[in-house]
Amino acid sequence: MMADGAQKMKKGAHARILGASIFRNIVCIFLCFLSLIPFWIMLVNATRSSTDIQMAFSLIPSTHIWENFQKLLYQANENVPLYRYMINSLVIAGFSTVLSVYFSTATAYGVTVYRFKGSQFAWAFIMAIMMIPTQVSSIGFFRFMYNLGLSNNFIPLIIPAIAAPATVFFMRQYMLSALPLEIIDAARIDGSGEFKTFNTIAVPLMKPAVATQAIFVFIASWNNFYTPSMLLSSQSLYTLPMFVQLMRGERFRSDYGIIYVGLVITILPIFIVYFALSKYIIAGVALGGVKE
């Protein structure tokens, strides 16, 4: 009798778990659908002719992608060739990434490995400035760069990447667990100079953290619209997000097919990077979030 009741309860619980599982999966599938559908519509409309797009809604791809692409090139290349924006974005994001990751590792190394006067303060300071967004100082930043004659230049978009408090924070967290100080001492005994030790021993040991942060810095720089759109005025220096802004202009507005193809082109590189590295990206977000 008792056993029967228990079994019934077990069965009930089992059914409840199954029900919950189905319900939760349905919700999650819906959310995945929600994440994808705008991009799907974008892809589909990139393959449709402008008149089709205006006629009716569709989720089935058509065959006009090449035509749209040609038209986009024709429209966009009037002043500056389209690939130029991509190269500009690539140059800025590439240099920013290298500088940011290297110097953030160096800064984290400096405050972790050495006990010098003010090392505690330096660390507290880096933590404190992590909260200050760049936007609040942008007016002064612009004027200062303008006075230096750097307003139409990539330098103010690349060099500031050296001081990235959030990257330093991540690097230090990782360093505490992955870089035993004994190794550095051993290197010293072997007569390795401090900078050589850093470059040949510390940086290779930090590789996983360096890779994770490189992805994040690159994506953030690639996506940055705020600072480039404030500083750059000559169109040959525009970045990809600024090209996106151009596409809203009169010249493109009449032809939807072109806009959608243009959007696809700006998204495609990031899509490829994301689906190739999504595992590491999500692991990196999870790590970065668990801050004390």
Partner: protein, 338 residues
């Protein structure tokens, strides 16, 4: 004796390198962030604009708190009745409209994904999909949504007409709440995946034995959530809140590129404070002084929010405990003195 002296000298020698390693960071920070910040604050107290008639720059000349007067007091003399505070208000509203559903959904998903009784096998795929919008260029997403919600032939309007929900196309970007809603939705949609991943990591960081102990004691799922999960998630929730609030206050790309004019249609009701700041500084009379005063307001509000959130989320139990400890120590000290 001589040896220890030598050793000591050696450690001092090494520690010197610490400065070399952190020097680039601090030099770049001073030039590209600290000085611009000081410069901005300084400009906020200066008259500085461009005379559009003769195209000459006026100033910067110190003019006290005149800029702040125009930022705080409206033309009708009412406090806060200015475009600065309207845009600040817009920003806060749109942040709240995205953050509240975002944190709730992220928390729910985090709990589902860490539930040991109802296991979700496909959660890796779900995470990859729901996180994805977060890394796509915000400018592109904004223009994409602008195209999707376009009048009269945007896909959303087409769909709503085909399904018979609307009789005629809807002008989304001419309605205040529709436009605000779209901006908030984009932010929500871009960020809940990120928040969910962070919170999931947080829940996984809690010792499983605590959940087991609670379950053995007969606690219900909701009780476990309220008494175990939520208090232990507090530091991560704080991190998420502060991050999102600070990021939300700087909102720019999406509202800037979503509407046709780029000035916060309709009637400046979706203009955020950073948008307004840049309009002041870089369009028309290029009012750098007033724009700087607006930046200072944004800076103070940002600081205020982060301190307030820290205050609200502070660990009350830990403070109580510390107070009790202090009281006990005092008591002991008093007794000891006797």
């Amino acid at each position: 004796m001589a040896k220890t002296a030598k050793q000591k000298r050696k450690t001092v020698e090494y520690s010197r390198y610490g400065y070399y390693f952190i020097a680039p960071f601090f030099i770049v920070f001073a030039i590209f962030q600290l000085w611009p910040l000081i410069y901005t604050i300084g400009l906020a107290f200066c008259e500085n604009y461009t005379d559009t008639m003769f195209n000459v720059e006026v100033g910067p000349v110190f003019n006290g708190i005149d800029n702040f007067k125009t930022v705080f007091i409206g033309k009708d003399g009412a406090l806060f009745n200015t475009y600065t505070f309207l845009s600040l208000w817009n920003t806060i509203i749109m942040w709240l409209m995205n953050f509240i559903p975002q944190i709730l959904l992220a928390l729910l998903l985090a709990i589902w994904f860490t539930d040991t009784r109802v296991k979700m096998k496909a959660q890796g795929a779900y995470k990859i999909m729901t996180f994805m919008p977060n890394i796509i260029t915000a400018a592109t997403i904004s223009v994409l949504f602008y195209s999707l919600f376009n009048y009269p032939n945007g896909p959303v309007n087409q769909l709503l007409l085909e399904l018979g929900i609307f009789d005629e196309p809807f002008r989304f970007f001419q309605r205040k709440w529709a436009t605000r809603g779209i901006i908030s939705f984009i932010n929500f949609w871009m960020w809940y995946g990120n928040t969910m991943v962070v919170l999931t990591a947080g829940v996984l960081g809690i010792s499983p034995s605590l959940f087991e102990a609670a379950r053995v004691d007969g606690a219900s799922s909701f009780q476990i959530f309220k008494k175990v999960t939520l208090p232990l998630l507090r530091p991560i929730l704080l991190f998420t809140l502060v991050n999102s609030a600070i990021g939300g206050l700087q909102m720019y790309d999406i509202p800037k590129l979503l509407t046709i004019s780029g000035y916060g249609d309709p009637d400046y009701m979706t203009r955020t404070i950073t948008m307004y700041m840049r309009e002041l500084a870089f369009t028309g009379a290029r009012q750098m002084g007033k724009a700087s005063a607006t930046s200072v307001v944004l800076f103070v509000v940002t600081l205020f929010f982060s301190l307030l959130l820290f205050y609200i989320m502070r660990d009350k139990d830990a403070i109580k405990e510390r107070k009790q400890n202090k009281a006990v120590q005092k008591e002991l000290a008093r007794k000891g003195a006797k």
